[in-house]
């Protein structure tokens, strides 16, 4: 039986959604300062307008929704999903005001793509945009990678008891430390330390490659943000192909693979457990599935004779596949080259890698390595049971921070989310086919959007149908939040209309 939410429920959801939107407004101060430093006055005004909107909405909502009640489980899930929608709608303002977007929907597409660390974009004339706007594009994907709720938890929630539910609602469930706010701060600590090293390494590489110091530093920072968040945004339309450098590629590979690892794994290594990298079910699963998909693509491309040299072939295949598997979306080939050079098998291998995705509780998307590992272990357990005596006790274990014995509950939970992802992939592909795109292109692009990868074979473009843009926004949102909080928001909306008092 559905219960109609009471006034207090609306107030608590409004209050915390307002806090998160205030967080988005505070985040926009960074691109505002960037615009001022580079004397981009029109862009600076765009950010003043957008910050004011965030603050007016956030504080206005807080003023209206005053309550001492803490977040319940369902409130947390609804706050997580609704705040992503509101943050997208308001966060799109600087994009739209820049004049580089075809419509407000296009602007929302880019912002949802940023928050969800997807990396697909509809921005036009990217190569001429202001530094301030480029800073915002990369900052929002960096913030989205840690989770915009994590930001608010870090700075604005001040230890609310129910904060954990909002954190879970954003698709993260690891507690690195006993307190969820401390966990959020630990996630930021890990990301900022990596930011220091990663951005510095890329900036030095940029200088060595012939960039001037200012551009080398900015590109280093932005490419780091795009890589660590597994977002895949880059400051030039050529993406990482722009740098023509094996060194730059190698640094980005290290950054995006590190970004795709579970924050719990980072924390374990941080606190001295280096063996965790070799033992963790997610890193093992990632290594196996990446190797298999690289093998398939290498075989197909070698047969097609696209790349004349073995090392060149491996470099191209490994980079695109590692980028796809970690759901980053950095690319050193043209989007259409997936169709015109890589062909169906190369695209299939990339699609499989994107669909699997990287680690849970990381910046990455997709089904996630831990679920693939659990399902594989369950399969092995069933095979062992079927060939063992009837009364034999067969158990399987996997290692994730600690040794965990496989239970039916764990397997069911992994299967539920995996099936939800597969259904999402199928539906978004069907939508693409119904809109008239080739099946291979529709699968590739649909999986890329829903797994929050951002590699494109050319389907995503400013001229694609508005319905497809809206569906891709929905797919990116569902994929990033891992369904439950979006379903909770749907349930909340239905209960407002049909619930009993």
């Amino acid at each position: 039986m559905l219960l109609r939410p009471r006034r207090e429920d609306h107030l608590v959801i409004g209050k915390y959604t307002g806090k998160i939107v205030i967080g988005i407004g505070l985040l926009m101060v960074v691109p505002l300062l960037t615009s001022i430093v580079f004397a981009e006055w029109d862009t600076a005004v765009d950010f003043v307008i957008s910050i004011s909107l965030c603050m007016a909405f956030g504080y206005g909502t807080q003023a209206v929704c005053r309550t001492d009640r803490d977040l319940g489980w369902s409130h947390g899930l609804v706050v997580a999903s609704s705040s992503w929608l509101v943050a997208t709608a308001i966060g799109a303002m600087p994009h739209w005001l820049s004049g580089h977007m075809g419509s407000y929907l296009d602007a929302m597409f880019d912002v949802m793509s940023g928050y969800t660390t997807t990396g697909l974009y509809l921005m036009q004339d990217l190569d001429h945009i202001a530094h301030g706007l480029n800073m915002w594009r990369h900052l929002l994907t960096f913030a989205g990678g840690q989770g915009i709720v994590v930001i608010a938890l870090t700075f604005l929630f001040k230890g609310a008891v129910g904060a954990y539910t909002v954190y879970v609602g954003e698709g993260k469930d690891e507690r690195l430390l006993p307190n969820v706010v401390q966990t959020a701060r630990a996630i930021w600590l890990v990301s900022l330390v990596w930011l220091g090293f990663g951005a510095a390494a890329l900036a030095i590489a940029g200088l060595a490659l012939g960039q001037d110091p200012v551009r080398a530093v900015l590109h280093g920072l932005w490419v780091y943000m795009g890589g660590w968040s597994t977002g895949g945004f880059a400051p030039q339309s050529y993406n990482t192909f722009y740098y023509h450098s094996v060194l730059y590629e190698a640094i980005t590979v290290v950054v995006f693979i590190a970004g795709s690892f579970n924050f719990a794994l980072h924390w374990a290594v941080w606190t001295g457990g280096r063996r965790e990298i070799r033992r963790n079910v997610e890193t093992v699963s990632f290594a196996i599935t990446l190797s298999l998909t690289v093998l398939i693509a290498t075989f197909a491309l070698a047969k097609a004779g696209v790349y004349s040299d073995a090392m060149v072939l491996f470099r191209k295949v490994f980079y695109q596949l590692a980028s796809g598997h970690t759901t980053t979306g950095f690319s050193t080939i043209y989007s259409r080259a997936f169709v015109t050079q890589w062909g169906p098998i190369g695209m299939l291998a990339t699609t499989i890698a994107m669909a699997i995705g990287a680690s849970a509780c990381s910046t990455a998307g997709g089904i996630k390595g831990i679920r693939i590992g659990v399902i594989f272990k369950a399969f092995v357990q069933d095979v062992r049971k079927s060939v063992s005596p009837e009364n034999a006790l067969i158990s399987e274990r996997y290692h994730h921070i600690r040794d965990i014995t496989l239970s039916d509950g764990l397997v069911r939970s992994a299967m539920t989310i995996t099936i939800a992802y597969v259904l999402l992939y199928a539906l978004i592909t069907l939508a693409g086919v119904l809109y008239g795109y080739d099946f291979a292109d529709a699968v590739f692009e649909g999986v890329s959007a829903a797994s929050n990868t951002g590699l494109s074979c050319g389907v995503t473009s400013p001229s694609m149908p508005e319905g497809m843009k809206a569906l891709y926004i929905l797919a990116m949102w569902l994929g990033r939040l891992e369904f439950m909080s979006v379903f909770a928001l749907g349930g909340y909306a239905i209960s407002i209309v049909r619930g009993r008092r």
Binding site: D42, V48, S52, H128, S237
Partner: protein, 196 residues
């Protein structure tokens, strides 16, 4: 009819043959005066095998920066809708950027003065060189190894003034945000006072 009466049949046959040859796949793309093909970046990306190893001529806006590697350098030339005028200058939106990477001797690049970015529309540059669908020398990148380069049109600085209407909105919304902030603080203060 009149045309048929004025020109002999042989001439018409030659004309028809010429048109057929021009429309055949091998000649489907424009060429410059020297006979080199002048495909666009979209055509190169869509049909890389067709042009692989060919000497082509390519014209586009020099974008970003030149990245020097010893005696050679990387350039990026955009031949998109923003080649002559970008969005800040009022160009209508015309899709994504598109262009080609060019590997060129540094000495040829000395005439390039302006590279395109938010504050500049870059020089429009024409290069002639060999197109590689997957260059073995450069990690399989699609590129053009240029042997000649000329600046066709010099670039210029782009003014992007603040729009007065935006300023009005910025002031109005800032006041609204300040009002909302004060309302929230005052209500919180009132509740604290009542609680005491």
């Amino acid at each position: 009819m009149i045309v048929c009466m004025r020109y002999p049949r042989g001439v018409l046959l030659v004309l028809a043959l010429g048109i057929l040859i021009a429309l055949s796949p091998g000649h489907a793309f424009a060429s410059n005066g020297a006979g080199d093909a002048t495909p666009s970046s979209s055509e190169l990306v869509e049909s890389p095998e067709e042009f692989d190893g060919d000497v082509i001529s390519f014209t586009g806006e020099a974008i970003g920066e030149m990245m020097t590697r010893g005696d050679m350098a990387w350039l990026h030339l955009n031949d998109d809708a923003y080649r002559d005028r970008n969005v800040e200058e009022g160009a209508p939106l015309g899709g994504y950027n598109s262009g080609m990477a060019v590997w060129v001797p540094v000495e040829l690049t000395e005439t390039i003065a302006t590279f395109g970015n938010h504050a500049h529309e870059g020089d429009i540059v024409r290069v002639t060189g060999t197109f590689n669908a997957a260059c073995p020398e450069h990690g399989g990148d699609m590129d053009i190894h240029a042997s000649s380069l000329e600046v066709v049109t010099p670039g210029h600085r782009v003014e992007d003034p603040v729009h007065p209407r935006k300023l009005v909105w910025a002031v109005a919304l800032s006041i609204l945000a300040l009002g909302a902030f004060l309302a929230d603080r005052l209500r919180a203060h009132a509740e604290d006072t009542q609680g005491m």
